[in-house]
């Protein structure tokens, strides 16, 4: 799972790929449809799609000669869960910090609260 996450976060480290994901979040799309909004070639888009596919973030379907892509729920969920885990670790620290702060007395010279 960790290696997949490496690939997934690396895949996200590119604005074109993020834009592709944002488009796919609205629904399935063909390579042609995905190429239209960008000023780059179809082979370049295909290369980005390959990176996203290898990272487990999108999947393709066969429909005649077309290969429409859509978001891969499992891959997206895995990233979500990972961020949730990081959040929880920080949260635990900050919950402790709440207690530390409650015990800090104002410095001398300041009016007592």
């Amino acid at each position: 799972m960790l290696r997949n996450l490496d690939a997934a976060f690396s895949a996200l480290a590119d604005p074109t790929r993020r834009a592709i994901l944002a488009r796919l979040a609205q629904g399935e799309a063909t390579v042609m449809e995905l190429t239209q909004p960008f000023e780059i070639t179809q082979p370049a888009i295909s290369q980005h799609l390959k990176v996203l596919e290898d990272a487990g973030l999108i999947v393709r379907r066969v429909e005649g000669t077309k290969r429409p892509r859509r978001l891969a729920k499992a891959g997206i969920d895995a990233m979500d869960q990972w961020l949730a885990m990081l959040r929880k670790t920080h949260q635990k620290n900050y919950d402790r910090l709440d207690e530390v702060l409650a015990a800090i007395e104002p410095k001398k010279g300041k009016a007592a609260r």
Binding site: S10, L12, D14, K88, R96, E99, L101, P106, K107
Partner: protein, 154 residues
């Protein structure tokens, strides 16, 4: 209740925000005074920070050493760049796992927010790949224990 947010921003940033029911001065002290830092910056249950060096002046050294009490542990080193009591701290840090990770440039702000403080911590990694690695696996060794525990919670 979820008071904290953790999100990515642009290609190289990670931003954490959290509201606290204490004035900025208390937050500032809890982030710079070793005796206070050792009480909360611990990560998962069971970990402690036996060594905490925080020389809070520009150029001052930072060194945190964590241990799980069972022979496991790792440390972090860094330097303070700017300190503006009680509103802003800028420092760089790197984890030693044991090889040092690329420098993480961190700006921590404490803004008065109602009766409390809004903390905004903006981490800037050298490049998108480094951020990806940090988000995906950078904390794994030190935080292994928490994964097992947290996996059951998500």
């Amino acid at each position: 209740m979820s008071k904290m947010t953790l999100k990515t921003e642009g290609d190289t940033n990670v931003v954490v925000t959290r509201h606290f029911a204490a004035p900025p001065e208390a937050l500032y002290r809890a982030h710079t005074e070793p005796k206070l830092i050792q009480k909360w910056m611990l990560g998962p249950e069971g970990w402690t920070m036996p060594v905490c060096i925080s020389d809070a002046r520009p150029g001052g050294k930072i060194r945190y050493e964590w241990t799980d009490g069972k022979g496991g542990g790792f440390h972090l080193t860094g330097e303070y760049l700017q300190l503006e009591p009680y509103g802003r701290i800028v420092h760089v840090e790197r984890m030693h796992l044991p090889n040092p990770t690329p420098d993480n440039h961190v700006e921590t702000r404490f803004d008065a927010d109602g009766a409390g403080t809004l903390m905004t911590m903006r981490m800037t990694l050298p490049d998108a790949q480094t951020r990806a690695a940090m988000l995906a696996s950078g904390m794994e060794r030190g935080m292994e224990a928490s994964y097992v525990r947290l996996e059951g919670m998500i």
